[in-house]
Amino acid sequence: MTTITDPHQGQFRLSMLLYDSRYRSMTIQIVALIGFLMLLGWLLSNTAQNLADLGKEPSFSFMLEPAGYDINQRLLEYDSQDTHLRASLMGLLNTLLVAVMGCITATVIGVIVGVLRLSPNWIVSRLSAVYVEGFRNVPVLLWIVFIMAVLIETLPQPRAFRSGDATMSLWESVAVTNRGIYIPEPLFSRSLGDIHLFGASSLRFDVSLDLLALLAVLIAGILTSVLIKRRADVVQEATGVRPRTWHWRLGVIVLPILLVLGILGFYLGYPALKGFNFQGGTHLRNSLIALWLALSLYTGAFIAEIVRAGILAVSKGQTEAASALGLRPNRTMSLVILPQALRVIIPPLISNYLNLTKNSSLAIAVGYMDITGTLGGITMNQTGRELETVLLLMLVYLTISLTISAVMNWYNESVKLKER
């Protein structure tokens, strides 16, 4: 006896759209799509109606009008007659600046604290735990505002340096005041000058040739150093003895740089008290320092936990197997434990970098002019173009986020365990 379960061949009924699993998924999807499109259409028509009532045609031409406000902490030259577009560019660069600075310090803090939390010393591991819990459980915005307030209220005013109530630290080179920190700036007496890109447009960009020269020498030095390492590897493969090369490798990086610095006439421009304020040197404003410190300390606490989890994730058997193979402890660390721990650490680490970048938008609370402070703050208030500015703002952050996640996916792909 054979039983053949042919699909039901009867004629199509309307209820089959709902009860027949062959059609149901299609029905659900089409209903979802129609619902979504209707919602979108409803929102768009409301928006168009409201904007027409307010007399605001959506347009982005305001970006090319003069901004009319000043940006006190900036990386490129800018004045208040420049366009909103250039102001936003300054803001974007400020966002990236604080994000990069924050990521570097947060990683350093996180790695140190994360390792200390695993310390066999009870009191040290407790102290790190206190740091981690204390910073993780309090909002980052509170830390930013708090550090800003502490900087303003407790540091000496510039005029205290005149009366001698306060002195500059680090051999008279750094002035810590309640208006910010003044550090020496690198200057060149025989400078090569700048290249001006993009003429006089809103995106004009000056590149210092001195910096380019230094970068070129640095890269060349690193490449030579890698070549020396390769050669040492070859020699080791052939003879079993690794030639001592570290002084060569260090020399080819450091010496050319020193040479170039000498040729360009490198010197430091120290800040000096003139009138009521310090002149010269690089001025790091309180807003930048507060934001940078708060983001680093806050994200550092999260990174500490990630590092700790990553190291704990490598099983003890791996260490034991490495010692059974006769590897010394530091080689065990660099060849066995770290590569495996990094595979666990890096993905959440990068998503924390992403969080830090997004949290840098809280700069608006302390008046640091990042992209939220310029485009989403003053530009929005001056032009009244809420829809356009918020859209642009979201677009900028989305681009940053998607770029970082693309990098993360690429990394995940490259370190994935190759399973067969």
Partner: protein
């Protein structure tokens, strides 16, 4: 021969371990001072702790509780400087504001009661160690205290009656042991109703307590669920369960959209019962943070589950919509979404709509939290072994049954740490509303620091706010550890 034995024939009594390896000394030697490399950090850390603690103690215990301004504080602790001792006067003067914002003074019992009831409603959801009767004791006690506080003859009588009932039930609960009670229940003794009933009612009571207005509004909102339930109950046998469900949802929606206001207005004109209405702009302080946090947390979990299921589903369009939503929300900072709430959300609505700023913020924060929640739960779903899905299929369960009985309980259990850390993140992120001008603790702190009397105050104020957030967030993270232990089913 026997006396030649040189091996001891009796066992020696056990000797106490040396004093240096037991007790405090032994512990310190093992954990703090084993070797030079360990002793130096220990000593450095001890010096650091001593330095911090000695400074902190002299800072905290300063006789400035009754001061009226920062200058007065400075007079009290001398001219040597403003930061060697705390100026607690600001907390004494402003703590009520930091807790309630500008909520009317006469009505402040309402948020307090709502907060108390929140805990009563949460306990049966969060813990299983408190007995059913103790839950009712807590509920009656909170209500009784509220009635006593309100005063008046009726209030006192009602309050005493409620407290009496609480005491009676509490006494009975304490006087009968667990085993006796189990035996009573087994032999058919009546049990008190499940306290989860109150947890289900609470979402309707809390907004009424906080915002006030007619009591018929929350009742009408709750009736929407009743309408939907009865529609399903009576229609499902007739038209089939799926169509019945759709009709029930439509019926409830019709009730909410078109009939609620009319019903509430009618009932209010017949039996006027209500509390004084409080404007949203009077909300502030921790009350505001807690309101936003609790609503966003409570709503984001179900929305997040739906989004996670959508992202994992085979339906291409549904999946694309969910992925787009999640990635968009996660790619932008919360502050831009709050800008949308404060400036754009009214533009998206039909002309003439002008709905409350707190409601707008609630919507955006909930959407934000849902996207993060969805990713956490997706992680849980992905971590579940493939065999669980296949086993559910093999048992012949349909999609929703498989999700409800097999997949979700396990996936949610795996993702508890992530869920709770998202909750903590959402609660911390509520301070961002100060940027769009709502008066949460941080927004209030700016106003306080701008006040002439307290101009220049930093540590006390931010320390107080930070401590409040720390208490909430830290206890949430401890709770997640407890829950993980409670639900652990492996390696036992």
């Amino acid at each position: 021969m026997s006396d030649l034995s040189y091996v001891r024939s009796e066992i020696l009594p056990e000797r106490a371990p040396p004093a240096s390896s037991v007790g405090v000394v032994g512990w310190a030697r093992a954990n703090l001072f084993n070797g030079i490399g360990n002793s130096i950090p220990t000593i450095l850390a001890l010096i650091f702790i001593w330095y911090v603690v000695s400074f902190l103690v002299s800072w905290v215990f300063s006789p400035t509780w009754s001061s009226e301004s920062l200058n007065q504080c400075r007079e009290i602790f001398g001219a040597d400087g403003g930061h060697s001792a705390a100026c607690w006067g600001v907390i004494r003067e402003r703590w009520v504001q930091l807790l309630f914002g500008f909520y009317p003074e006469a009505e402040r019992w309402r948020p307090v009661v709502a907060f108390g009831l929140l805990f009563v409603a949460l306990i049966p959801v969060l813990f299983n160690m408190i007995s059913r009767r103790m839950n009712w004791v807590l509920l009656l006690a909170v209500l009784g205290l509220a009635a006593l506080y309100l005063g008046g003859v009726l209030g006192v009588i009602l309050g005493l009656a409620l407290l009496g009932a609480a005491g009676f039930i509490g006494f009975k609960a304490f006087s009968t042991s667990k085993e006796d009670r189990a035996a009573q229940i087994a032999s058919g003794a009546k049990r008190l109703p499940n306290p989860l009933i109150f947890s289900a009612i609470f979402p309707f009571i809390a907004p009424w307590l906080l915002w006030g207005g007619s009591i018929w509004m929350p009742i009408a909102a709750a009736l929407g669920f009743v309408v939907g339930f009865f529609a399903f109950r009576f229609l499902a046998p007739v038209v089939g369960s799926l169509a019945g469900l759709i009709i029930a949802v439509v019926a409830a929606l019709i009730w909410w959209l078109f009939l609620t206001t009319g019903f509430a207005g009618l009932m209010q004109s017949i039996i006027p019962v209500g509390l004084e209405h409080v404007e949203s702009r009077n909300f502030g302080g921790f009350m505001l943070s807690t309101t936003i946090g609790v609503v966003a947390i409570a709503c984001s979990l179900p929305i997040g589950i739906v989004l996670a299921l959508g992202r994992q589903s085979d339906l291409l369009i549904v999946k694309a919509l969910c992925v787009g939503f999640i990635e968009f929300i996660r790619g932008v900072p919360l502050i831009t979404l709050l800008f949308v709430a404060s400036t754009l959300l009214n533009i998206f609505m039909p002309p003439g709509t002008n709905f409350d700023i707190i409601l707008r913020v609630l919507i955006m924060v909930t959407l934000f939290a849902s996207a993060y929640m969805a990713e956490v739960i997706r992680g849980g779903l992905a971590a579940l072994p493939r065999g669980q899905y296949e086993a559910a299929d093999a048992l012949g369960l349909d999609y929703w049954k498989a999700q409800r009985l097999i997949i979700m309980p396990q996936a949610l259990k795996i993702s508890i740490p992530g869920i709770v850390s998202t909750f903590i993140g959402v609660f911390k992120d509520t301070v961002l509303v100060s940027i769009i001008g709502l008066l949460d603790p941080l927004g209030l702190s700016n106003a306080i620091r701008a006040d002439q009397a307290w101009n220049g105050i930093v540590w006390e104020l931010y320390g107080f706010i930070a401590l409040m957030f720390f208490v909430f967030c830290f206890s949430m993270s401890r709770y997640s550890m407890y829950l993980e232990r409670r639900l652990r089913t492996d390696h036992r």
